[in-house]
């Protein structure tokens, strides 16, 4: 017994070192999966405060760029206005229905909520974005996120009272489904952890017609993103030798180096869909 104590005392530093390394590796393994993206809400609140202060200064330097992209977004929206299109008379005739439906509250599916980016990284293999808006301001886990030009950015993985953490597309565990705009094939987006702004789309069969420059959009299969949000533009199509699929590399439409403001998308019918799925599973 005495010898054991002597042994432990002699190699105390080594054991202590191994213990601490073990702690670190446990943290890495346990907290870097999809669902445990944030290790504690308190740390999140604390670092969030500091980042918010820093961001106030940083925002100032990006004002011009932010303005420019807002003007562009506005232009795009104006072009979508009904007033810009000339419709044949017969179609534009308005027929009043006798049933009155409160169309705004009941039929709206997606609501956009603006949020400021207070922290963003691109240079690790698992990148997160922190938003200065949280649970108290109606953000929920699982919401999709787009930048001001409607290009997909990521999905919210954790919310605290005033902050939310987003797993950006530039995260090795991020798997959002994407779709080729032209031909309609659906695949999964994933990032290899090397070059920011370049992501790959997997699972597109070789029968699909793809060329560099094609547009990739969100598929709308998940409840996070509506269908047809811009994701990126194809830069390279590589046929995989071992399978019947293409590996498609594309440039993201969102510029991850320059995120100042984003919109979180709330799907108000998500609960209804979830309940229905639950019911279908039970009756089986």
């Amino acid at each position: 017994m005495r010898n054991i104590f002597l042994f432990i005392r002699r190699y105390f530093n080594l054991f202590f070192f191994l213990l601490l390394q073990g702690c670190c590796i446990y943290l890495i393994v346990h907290y870097n999966t999809y669902h445990n993206a944030v290790f504690s809400n308190t740390a999140n609140q604390l670092t969030g405060k500091i980042n918010e202060q820093y961001n106030k200064v940083e925002d100032y330097f990006h004002l011009k760029k932010t303005n420019d992209s807002l003007v562009k977004a506005n232009e795009r929206l104006y072009n979508k206005l009904k007033a810009d299109f000339q419709l044949p008379d017969s179609v534009s005739k308005i027929v009043l229905d006798t049933i009155k439906v409160d169309s705004l509250t009941q039929y709206r599916k997606y609501t956009y909520m603006q949020a400021a980016v207070i922290e963003n990284s691109v240079n690790t293999q698992s990148n997160f974005i922190v938003l200065g808006r949280g649970k108290k301001q109606q953000l929920k886990e699982g919401m999709g996120l787009v930048d001001i030009n409607n290009a997909a950015v990521g999905i919210i993985t954790a919310v605290s009272d005033d902050y939310a953490v987003v797993m950006s597309l530039l995260h090795k565990d991020s798997h959002i489904s994407g779709k080729l705009f032209k031909s309609g094939e659906t695949g999964t987006l994933s990032w290899d952890g090397k070059t920011p702004n370049i992501i790959s789309l997997n699972g597109i069969p070789k029968s699909a017609k793809v060329a560099a420059g094609d547009t990739i959009i969100t598929s709308g299969f998940s409840t996070s993103f509506p269908r047809g949000m811009l994701v990126g533009y194809v830069t390279e199509v590589i046929p995989e030798k071992s399978s019947n699929n293409y590996l498609i590399k594309f440039k993201t439409a969102a510029d991850f180096y320059n995120l100042q403001y984003v919109y979180a998308i709330d799907n108000s019918q998500q609960e209804a869909v979830d309940q229905l799925l639950e019911k279908a599973k039970q009756t089986k």
Binding site: L20, Q21, L27, I50, N123, G193, P196
Partner: protein
């Protein structure tokens, strides 16, 4: 100023510089300049080894909480804090010379070469362990090697600049006093 207070201020400054200045720099999307671990290289000689490990762990953990990936930097910091005393013993010119000064520097290590070896070895170990943990599932060995070497070079450059800019005044402590 007491050594304790000095180290607390140093710690806060290193973390702020790392998070808000150096982390915003992306050189060819591959290299991130790291400087924060210089704090651990500068810890006093006479601190017990267990304390060095604890401080390294806490320090790495603080940096990790800014990056939302707990564990990576803490692991690398603990590793270099563990190896540090061995290197100091190996490189210090004569027995007991580490009692003459407070902390490792060019003067206390007895010349530029021993100090540079000390810094370079710990830097490369820190980077290699950090990137190895980060790259766990990416099996590309060349990418890992190039990233480690380039980041080490940049970090060493930053450390040299830091040493030139901030001269640390160190008193010679005699045994007789």
């Amino acid at each position: 100023m007491s050594s304790f207070l000095k180290n607390i201020i140093r710690m806060a400054l290193f973390i702020l510089v790392q998070v808000f200045v150096l982390d915003k720099i992306h050189l060819h999307q591959m290299v991130t300049p790291y400087l924060y671990f210089l704090f651990i290289l500068w810890l006093p000689f006479n601190m017990s080894r267990a304390w060095q490990l604890v401080i390294a762990f806490v320090y790495g953990f603080i940096l990790d909480s800014f990056r939302h990936n707990p564990g990576f930097h803490a692991a690398a910091c603990v590793l270099i804090a563990y190896i540090r005393p061995f290197l100091v013993n190996l490189l210090i010119p004569q027995e007991g010379a580490d009692g003459n000064y407070d902390e490792p520097s060019i003067k206390s290590m007895g010349g530029i070469l021993p100090y540079f070896i000390y810094v370079a070895v710990l830097t490369i170990i820190h980077h290699a362990w950090l990137f190895l943990l980060e790259a766990w599932q990416f099996g590309n060995i060349w990418y890992f090697l190039v990233k480690t070497l380039l980041s080490t070079a940049i970090s060493l450059l930053l450390i040299i600049i830091t040493e030139l800019l901030f001269v640390r005044k160190q008193k010679f402590r005699t045994n007789t006093a």
